[in-house]
């Protein structure tokens, strides 16, 4: 049984979805006039060359109607893993390629940022010494890294991974450092009085104590990585969901672009939800 509030919020989200669909449908209704500036209709052959079927008297609108979008989406999603060589692969492949890149770049970023964050958190001197550099590098947009990466790393695939790496590094690093630095003094005193050795200190006390904060950084980092990969692939990709967007835009196929945009959003949400699940499992109440 849903509570009153849940029912209301469910109703509101349903209503807003419906509203968006209605506005979409309404604003993409076929236009009546098809002779702007008094340009003549031309003969039947002209009509054929313009892609106007003989029966339909209306012009296709650029932006697909919700119906047209849905038909196209079903068609594309029907065979998400078709593979006709590297230039024509299904959207499932593309999404997978993007996820793989993110996993590699983001995984490397985590492997670097978490230990480095521990060093920062435990050694305030090092944190103070390196913090200015971190603060300068942190706000740089993923796309600003791209030309530098292309010029130095050259290999496009590595560039994309590097861009993900460099963008997701900072939030993980800073959150880890913060999480470690704010571990409660008395827990540290406990492990000192118990003469716990370093590996145990790290894995049984420091890591679990800082884990919720680290996970917060990792969630931010993953969000940034997902933003970056789509942009990077649109620039240099030969696969991936960003490449799919570019390739469909090259064909001016807005239906597919919208579909890809929705999938990007859904995949981003799923990635965040997965990390949120992990975060819940390491969270503790004091």
């Amino acid at each position: 049984m849903l509570s009153q509030e849940n029912r209301l919020s469910f109703f509101l989200s349903f209503a807003s979805l419906l509203g968006v669909l209605l506005i979409w449908q309404f604003s993409t209704l076929p236009q009546a006039s098809r002779s702007p500036y008094g340009i003549p209709d031309g003969n039947a052959e002209y009509q054929r060359l313009m892609g106007r079927s003989a029966v339909a008297s209306t012009v296709r609108s650029d932006f697909p109607t919700p119906g047209a979008f849905a038909r196209n989406a079903i068609e594309v999603l029907h065979a998400p893993f078709h593979n006709n060589g590297p230039n024509d692969r299904g959207i499932g492949w593309q999404l997978g390629a993007s996820l793989l890149r993110v996993m590699i770049g983001y995984g490397l970023a985590t492997l670097v940022a978490v230990p480095l964050g521990f060093v920062f958190g435990l050694q305030p001197v090092i944190q103070k010494a390196l913090n200015p550099f971190v603060q300068i590098l942190r706000p740089i947009s993923p796309l600003a890294w791209m030309p530098i990466a292309l010029y130095t790393i050259r290999d496009a695939e590595l560039c994309a991974i590097f861009v993900i790496f460099i963008c997701s590094l900072w939030p993980i690093l800073l959150n880890t450092a913060f999480g470690v630095a704010s571990i409660r003094r008395e827990w540290l005193n406990v492990i000192r009085t118990l003469e716990v050795r370093w590996p145990q200190r790290l894995f049984f006390v420091l890591l679990p104590a800082a884990a919720p904060t680290i996970l917060t950084g990792m969630r931010i980092g993953l969000g940034v990585a997902w933003l970056a990969i789509v942009a990077a692939e649109m620039l240099v990709g030969s696969s991936g969901i960003g490449y799919f967007v570019w390739n469909q835009w090259n064909n001016l196929s807005l239906s597919n672009v919208i579909l890809a945009v929705l999938l990007i959003g859904l995949a981003g949400m799923a990635l965040d939800a997965a990390l949120a699940f992990v975060q819940r499992s390491v969270r503790y109440a004091e």
Binding site: Y37, I39, G42, Y46, G237
Partner: protein, 450 residues
């Protein structure tokens, strides 16, 4: 064994009035082997002599002195460096590197590359080619230079610009293996300008071009200048990806573009614009896209390079045959290639098209395909580079052109395939007619800007 490959083609000296041999040609520097083949209709010594007389203005010594310390020097030093790898081995030599990554930008100009793949021309040369659809010319350039592409579809000015180190890159010698296509571009205007057909009315407009070092940019600038507009002051030119050209035309952000097919026809199809003029009507036979690779690749894998040339020559001949165009359009429309409506590609390839203003037109010369990289065309491109300030140094135009647009290589491979020679026979330096104006590669006009 001679040091300078360009002086090493004995047939280039066939018509030489004073045969002082390759070594001498190198020493005096002002003697271009190529000029002796300059046809001037019949290759008469008088014509050749007059051409010869005009060239010494830019001697190699002069060039080396003038360009000391410049980026172009570094580039040209590489260009003229002695190398003997391009041995004239038999065309049937073993392919050294059968698995190749070749880049292309999804436009109609890449038709020969697509056909060479789809019709098995690469395969029959023992090449296993993977075509890589690439998002733009800057990326094509980067990927070719970093070796992730073995060879690539290029805009024909790109090999010249890259070899000279223009546009901020370190100079890296690039070869045109074959030309891909001629004609096949157009100036598209927004529908709202249907009455502004005179370029003199275009002051203040914004036009899109696909790349700085593109025939599109050079043709548009030439066209505007011909009609009294300064392309740097009177209009604004914006480098834009082709699909963005159509979208921006529709949105009203640009007034027109000189773009590659099928995007001109696509703008018509989307009812965003109309075809103002076909590039075939500006300069019939102008080069557009080339197929090229780095000089180091060509030297390292000479047999592979020649196999690529042969496949691309066959593909260009295939495309040039009008009866093959519909089949080509069908193949090119596939998602793996252009990913465009077939009917749009068809119109740009066959020249039977809707012009966007309600009229069906026919121009069989709208798109053409030719594998021959004429050095005279390269000289035109280089002269335009100078004209628009991309090239600051004085360089030996003909020598540079010949070093990058190596037409004789292509002729040799075409002959090996027993394909008919082009209409102009063996003339590598045809006099061009660009927008009604005569262009002689040995007497390039001195442009005074503004």
């Amino acid at each position: 064994m001679t040091l300078f490959p360009f002086s090493r083609r004995p047939y280039a000296f066939r018509a030489a009035p004073c045969d002082h041999g390759p070594a001498l040609a190198c020493q005096c520097g002002s003697t271009y082997p190529g000029i002796f083949t300059t046809g001037h209709e019949n290759g008469l010594p008088t014509g050749a002599m007059s051409a010869q007389a005009s060239v010494p203005a830019i001697s190699r010594r002069h060039f080396l002195g003038a360009a000391t310390g410049s980026a172009a020097l570094a580039g040209l030093a590489g260009l003229f460096a002695p190398h003997a790898a391009m041995a004239d081995t038999a065309p049937s030599g073993v392919v050294e590197k059968p698995d190749l990554n070749i880049g292309f930008v999804p436009i109609s100009c890449s038709a020969p590359l697509i056909m060479a793949t789809a019709k098995g021309f690469f395969q029959s040369e023992g090449l296993n080619v993977q075509l890589r659809k690439t998002a733009g010319w800057a990326l094509i350039r980067d990927k070719l230079l970093d070796g992730s592409l073995d060879a690539s579809h290029l805009l024909s000015p790109m090999p010249l610009a890259l070899s000279l180190g223009l546009g901020g890159n370190a100079a890296q010698p690039i070869r045109v293996a074959t030309m891909q296509n001629i004609n096949g571009q157009a100036i598209t205007l927004a529908l709202k300008h249907w009455h502004k057909r005179d370029p003199r009315d275009w002051k203040g407009m914004t036009f899109a071009i696909p790349f700085q070092f593109s025939m599109h940019n050079l043709l548009l600038r030439n066209y505007l200048a011909l009609h009294g507009l300064d392309p740097d002051k009177d209009v604004s030119l914006r480098v834009t990806a082709p699909p963005d050209m159509v979208a921006n035309l529709k949105a009203g952000n640009i007034d027109g573009f000189l773009g590659p097919e099928p995007f001109n026809q696509r703008a018509v199809y989307e009812e965003a614009g109309f075809l103002h003029v076909l590039s075939a009507d500006l300069w019939d036979g102008h080069p557009c896209c080339a197929f090229g690779t780095t000089a180091s690749f060509a030297e390292k894998y000479p047999n592979t390079y020649r196999a690529l040339q042969r496949a691309m020559i066959r593909a260009a001949y295939f495309m040039q045959e009008p009866s093959n165009r519909l089949e080509a359009a069908h193949i090119m429309a596939q998602a793996a290639y252009l990913n465009q409506p077939e009917i749009v590609i068809e119109q740009s390839l066959t020249g039977h098209y809707a012009d966007g203003l309600g009229v069906v037109r026919d121009n069989p010369r709208r798109s053409g395909f030719s594998p021959y990289p004429y050095p005279s065309m390269a000289v035109w491109i280089l002269s335009q580079f100078s004209r628009w300030g991309y090239l600051k140094e004085n360089i030996p135009l003909q020598e540079t052109a010949q070093r990058i647009f190596m037409i004789d290589e292509v002729r040799k491979q075409a002959a090996a395939l027993a394909l008919p020679a082009p209409e102009d026979g063996q003339n590598n330096w045809p006099v061009l007619t660009v927008m009604g104006q005569r262009f002689d590669a040995f007497h390039p006009p001195s442009y005074s800007k503004g």
